[in-house]
């Protein structure tokens, strides 16, 4: 795995944080910015969940990752801690592969 995009991504994430504490307030206080920025993680996380559960190698697929996600969803609804949500999904996939 290449280092260059990795370090560039680290630099970009730091630059964003630094901009937030450094830029004059008016740049980020625009109501459209205030409304749009919190929606980005919602859309991106939902997109990551969908694409990484229902695809492999550019094709739509349905496999053990779907029930693993369903179990994670139940764990989230039960307000389980983060590590438990992730472990429950991994365990579901592992067990279903044994069947």
């Amino acid at each position: 795995m290449s280092w260059i995009p990795l370090l560039a991504a680290c630099a970009a994430c730091y630059a964003i944080k630094l901009a937030g504490v450094s830029l004059p307030q008016r740049y980020l206080q625009d109501p459209r910015v205030q409304r749009t920025v919190p929606l980005l993680p919602v859309a991106l996380l939902a997109s990551l969940i969908a694409t990484q559960t229902f695809s492999s190698g550019g094709h739509l697929t349905l496999d053990v990752r779907a029930p693993a996600l369903a179990v994670a969803g139940i764990a989230v609804l039960l307000r389980a801690p983060f590590l438990l949500v992730v472990a429950a999904a991994a365990a579901t996939a592992a067990l279903l592969r044994l069947v």
Partner: protein, 213 residues
């Protein structure tokens, strides 16, 4: 307050274990995994970067996704700037600690001195345990011959879901989440890996910028 900071840090340390495991399973080396936690230090972006790579996506698509997910930290910084009053070198260090947890802890205090203490204590505690957890998770996963057997490859969507759930407490974000998931799956067969994310990002920005009545 220090106890609150430690409590949050222990929870995020456990969450860092899963980051270390997922990153190594996705094919990143242990030094790369640790550098992400040291230098990127914003959980959702880190999970997204390794998630995109693990799913066979281009590293620059991972870069774009990580940066877009990190954009919210700029708004946190905006809220924190007036509380922290950090100048010079302190501001460069403080900026690195601007994440969900430190913001939540700082803005919950009315007194600026207490807010600053909350920010710094949470930041230092989380930074320490986040990096420690990452290293342990990565090293432990390295000892497993095939992490797929333990289902680690199925873990990233669960991690994303746990990060997404607290943001869905209103109708609009819930509708956006479902629309984003659907649109991504519809475009997926026609574009390279990682690109559905960028399409969704452009669409949500357009949606957000359209004037409302």
């Amino acid at each position: 307050m220090i106890r609150d900071a430690l409590g949050i840090a222990v929870a995020t340390g456990a969450y860092a274990l899963s980051f270390g495991a997922i990153s190594v399973t996705a094919g990143l080396s242990i030094p790369q995994t640790c550098v992400l936690s040291l230098l990127m230090f914003t959980g959702a972006s880190q999970f997204a970067y390794v998630g995109v790579l693990g799913a066979g996506g281009n590293a620059w698509a991972g870069f774009a996704t990580a940066a877009l997910l990190g954009s919210r930290n700029a708004l946190y910084g905006l809220r924190l700037a007036s509380i922290l009053e950090a100048a010079g070198l302190r501001r460069f260090v403080a900026a690195h600690f601007v994440i969900d947890e430190t913001t939540a802890m700082a803005i919950a205090r009315d007194d600026p001195a207490l807010a600053r203490l909350a920010f710094w204590s949470t930041g230092v505690a989380i930074f320490t345990l986040w990096n420690l957890g990452t290293l342990i998770g990565a090293l432990a996963t390295r000892t497993i011959p095939d992490p797929r057997v333990l289902g680690f490859d199925a873990a990233p969507p669960a991690a994303f879901l746990a990060l997404l759930a607290p943001r869905l407490r209103a109708k609009e974000p819930l509708a956006i989440a479902f629309a984003a998931a659907l649109i991504s799956l519809v475009c997926l067969p026609f574009v390279p890996a990682g690109v559905p994310l960028l399409i969704v990002a452009v669409l949500v920005v357009v949606y957000g910028l359209v004037p409302r009545r």
